[in-house]
Amino acid sequence: MTFRIQKEAKKESMLINMGPSHPAMHGTIRIMLELDGEKVLNAELEVGYLHRGFEKTCEHKTYFNLLPYTDRLNYVSPLINNLGYVMTVEKLLGIEAPERAQFIRVIMSELSRISDHLTALAAMTMECGAFTAFLYYIQAREEIWRVIEQTTGARMTTSYIRIGGVRADLHPEIDPLLDKAIASTRQLLKDCHGLLDKNKIWLNRTRDVAVVNPEMAINYGFTGPCLRASGVSYDVRKAHPYCTYDQVRFEIPLGDNGDNFDRYMVRMKEMEQSLRIIEQSRKKVPLSAPTIIADGIEPVEAIRASRTKKAEAKIILSPNLEGSEKDVYSRLMAKEKKYTIPPKEDTYTNIEGLINHFKFFMKGHGIRPPKGDVYFSVEGGSGEVGYYIVSDGTDKPYRLHLRGPCFHIVAALEEMILGHYVADIIPTFGGLNMIGGELDR
C-alpha cells in the first residue's frame, strides 16, 4: 500500500518516519513527514497501534462488567472516563446518585483533571528540554495520585465510580494527604509560572507555533483546553452542568492565539480552577468517622447465625470493602435495588439482600436498561468525553461508542505542523495531550 504522502511527495523532497517507536512519540503513533531541509511540507499520521477492540469487547460484556475497560481509555484520568460511562448508563436508566456521591465524583474528577494536565504539561516541557519543570510536574502528580490511591485503592485502574454512585466513601484520613496535594500543586503552579512564563527559550519554542484559529478548532471538533486556547468558551461543566458543578464557583480560562503557549497557559490556569472546585466541594462532604468494628463477627458466623433469626451483630468485612459499610453505603449509592449491589451485610444476613446480589450478577439479569439510544458527555482532561450507548433491553450494550476528545484533536496535527520545523512537531504533539488508549480504543 502506498500512503497518501508518498503519492503527493515531490521528487526532490525527503520522506521520513517519526515513530511508532520513537522517544518523542509517547503513545505509539507514526508520523510520516515530507521535508525540505528541516521544514515540514506535508505530513500524514498513522494511528491504531494501540487498538484493542474496546467497542467490540464492550458489546460482549454486561453493563457492570465493562466498567474496568473504561479505566484504560484515558489512563491518566481514569476517573473521568468512569464517570462519563456511568452517567451515560444512569441517563439511560433514569436514576441519580445521592448528593454525597455526586460531590465525591466532582472531587475525584477534578483531581484526575489536574493529573491529566500535569502529565500533558510534563511531557510538553520535557520535550522542549525543560527537565526541571518536568520533574516538578511529575512530583506534584505523585501527590495527587496518592490521594486517589488512598480512597479508590488504585493509582490508575480505579473503577471507583459505579452505576448509581461510588464504590466507597472517601478515606477517613484523606484530609492530610489532600491538603498536601493541594499545597504542592499550588507551589508547583507558582514555580512553573516562574520557570516558564518569561523564559526566552520556552517562549521562542511555543509562541506562534502551531496556531489554531477558532474556526479551525471548531471545524475539527476540538474540545477542552485546546479549544479554549483558541478563545472559544465551551466547557461541558458550564454548558451542560452535571453532578454538582452548578453548585460550585469556577471560571473558564481562555487563550487568545491558539498557539502552543496558550495551550500551556490554559492548562495551568485550569488547574487553579480545579483546586478551587476541590476546596469548595470538600466542605460539602464532611468526612465520616473511621468505622472500626471492634465487637463484630466474621461473615461465616453471621451467615450461620442468620439462618435461624435475624442477625443484629456487626460484621467484620474484608479490608477491600472498607468505606462501603452499610451505614455509609446508602449515602453513596442510589436506592434502586435493580441497578445497584446491596450492601455486603445484607447479602450475608438476609434473604432479600442475597437475592438482590444474585439477581444483579446472574447472566441475563443484572442491569437491563430500557430500549433506546443515548448520548452523554462529561468534561475530560483533554475535552469532551462522550459515550453513545444503544440498548436493546438486554444486560449487554448493543453498541457502545466513545467520543474520545483527542481523536479529533490529533486529527488536526497533520495540518497544524505544516510549514513548521521538525523540532516544533514535538512540543506541539506534547501540547495536544495525545493518549493512545483513548485515541485508538
Binding site: 467490540k56 472559544v232 433506546g372 443515548v374 453513545y388 486529527a411
Partner: protein, 161 residues
C-alpha cells in the same frame, strides 16, 4: 413563548425528507433520507442555527433488519448550546453515503474509522482507507457477524523495494 425545538422546525421545513423526529431521554433526534444528509447539514450549519461542530459520527449494525446499518451523527451548536442527532439508515446492498469531509475536517478520520469498522463507503471522501486496522485486514470488526475472537491470517512480510 417557549422556544421551538430544532427537530420541529426541521419537520415543518422539510416534511417529505424527515422520516421521524423524537426526543427520547432528552436527546433531539431526526431520522432522514439518505440523500438529504449533506443538504441538512449545510442548512444546520448556517445561521441562525449554527450547528458548527461535528461532535461525533458513528455507525450501528442492526443485523437482520432490511436497512441494516444506521449512521449516527451528533452536531453541536456553540451559540445555542444544543445538540442534535441525525440518523440515516443504509441498506446492506448499497452501502454508500455522502461524505461530510467538505463541511467538517474531523469527518475525515471519523469516516475512515466507520469505513474500517463497518465497511460503509463515503462518496467524496478524499482518502478512504482503513484507520485503525492494518492494510490487509479482512472483514469489518464491528459488524455483528464478525466473531469476537476471530483470528486473522498472518500477512506476508513486506518485500524490499
Amino acid at each position: 413563548m417557549e422556544k421551538k425545538k430544532i427537530t420541529e422546525i426541521l419537520k415543518e421545513k422539510f416534511p417529505e425528507k424527515i422520516k421521524e423526529i423524537s426526543s427520547r431521554f432528552g436527546d433531539e433526534t431526526v431520522a432522514i433520507e439518505r440523500d438529504f444528509l449533506r443538504g441538512l447539514c449545510v442548512f444546520l450549519m448556517k445561521e441562525p442555527y449554527a450547528y458548527s461542530m461535528l461532535l461525533d459520527l458513528t455507525c450501528v449494525d442492526y443485523m437482520g433488519d432490511d436497512l441494516r446499518f444506521e449512521m449516527v451523527y451528533h452536531l453541536f451548536s456553540i451559540s445555542s448550546n444544543e445538540r442534535v442527532r441525525i440518523k440515516v439508515r443504509l441498506s446492506d446492498k448499497d452501502l454508500n453515503i455522502q461524505s461530510l469531509t467538505p463541511l467538517w475536517k474531523n469527518a475525515n478520520w471519523l469516516e475512515r474509522e466507520v469505513y474500517d469498522m463497518f465497511g460503509v463507503r463515503f462518496e467524496g471522501h478524499p482518502y478512504l482507507v482503513r484507520l485503525f486496522m492494518y492494510d490487509g485486514f479482512e472483514g469489518h470488526p464491528l459488524r455483528k457477524d464478525y466473531p469476537l475472537r476471530k483470528r486473522q491470517p498472518i500477512i506476508p512480510m513486506r518485500k524490499k523495494e
